[in-house]
């Protein structure tokens, strides 16, 4: 069970990351992946991702280990970018390989749901008219994270 975690300003390469998960084990039958990217609209131009450098990697490693403990995986990956990202740019990549698709897909959902409100990242939006706005945590994101906490065996 191999964990790959990174916090980086550079873009990630989904093809490389997918191949890393596919190649982890000959017993891997399915790989689930999720890419979060900067969603445009309403004049949004870019986002800046701030983080807590000393804490971020440890939090992501702990999250990945929790996924391994919870689901029957061959490995998982969490990559989060920081810095200024324009509309359409990838922000986050999570993925999980498993013998069976159910575990791979559940772990993928788990990782992104928990990462949204459980790792020290903050988004500041930047609009065409010059406004900048710190994104508020969405109640639905907090609910999604809590749902995994109240269901520890899923």
């Amino acid at each position: 069970m191999v964990v790959h975690v990174a916090v980086q300003a550079a873009p990630f390469d989904v093809g490389v990351e997918a191949e890393r998960l596919s190649a982890l084990s000959p017993l891997t039958g399915g790989v689930g992946l999720f890419v979060g990217q900067v969603r445009g609209g309403q004049g949004l131009r870019a986002m800046t991702l701030e983080h807590y450098p000393g804490m971020t990697e440890g939090t992501l490693h702990a999250l990945a280990q929790e996924a391994l403990a919870r689901f029957d995986l061959t490995g998982c990956t969490v990559i989060h970018r920081v810095g200024r990202l324009e509309v359409g740019a990838g922000i986050v990549f999570v993925g999980a390989g498993a013998a069976h698709r159910g575990a791979a897909l559940m772990a993928t959902s788990f990782l992104i749901d928990r990462l949204k409100t459980g790792a020290p990242f903050w988004k500041r939006e930047e609009y065409d008219d010059g406004r900048t706005i710190w994104v508020d945590a969405r109640e639905t994101d907090e609910e999604a994270a809590r749902a995994w906490m109240s269901n520890p065996t899923a």
Binding site: G36, M55, K116, G118, F121, A137
Partner: protein, 87 residues
């Protein structure tokens, strides 16, 4: 110098306060996060206002999410921030 903790602010909090870290003297026996908060609010009205503006203020002690009851002792790193919005 010995009985100090580092206090960090992130995101909207950092921006509003206008600084990203403080060094604060506390009793050698330690204080709760809540008491530390009261102390830094008393020392700087801008901090008091910024923390009051965060109804869902979060805190990490030594890079682990904590409660406001958590004991802080000299040498610790305490970070205050708004709810996290990664992903």
């Amino acid at each position: 110098m010995a009985d100090r903790v580092t206090v960090l602010f992130f995101a909207a909090l950092r921006e509003q306060i206008g600084q990203e870290s403080l060094s604060v003297t506390i009793p050698a026996s330690g204080v709760s996060v809540a008491a530390l908060r009261t102390q830094i609010e008393g020392a700087d009205p801008a901090i008091a206002q910024a923390l009051a503006d965060q109804p869902k203020l979060r805190v990490a002690v030594n890079r682990t999410l904590s409660t406001f009851e958590q004991l802080v002792t000299p040498g610790d790193e305490v970070a205050f921030f708004p709810p996290m919005t990664g992903g």
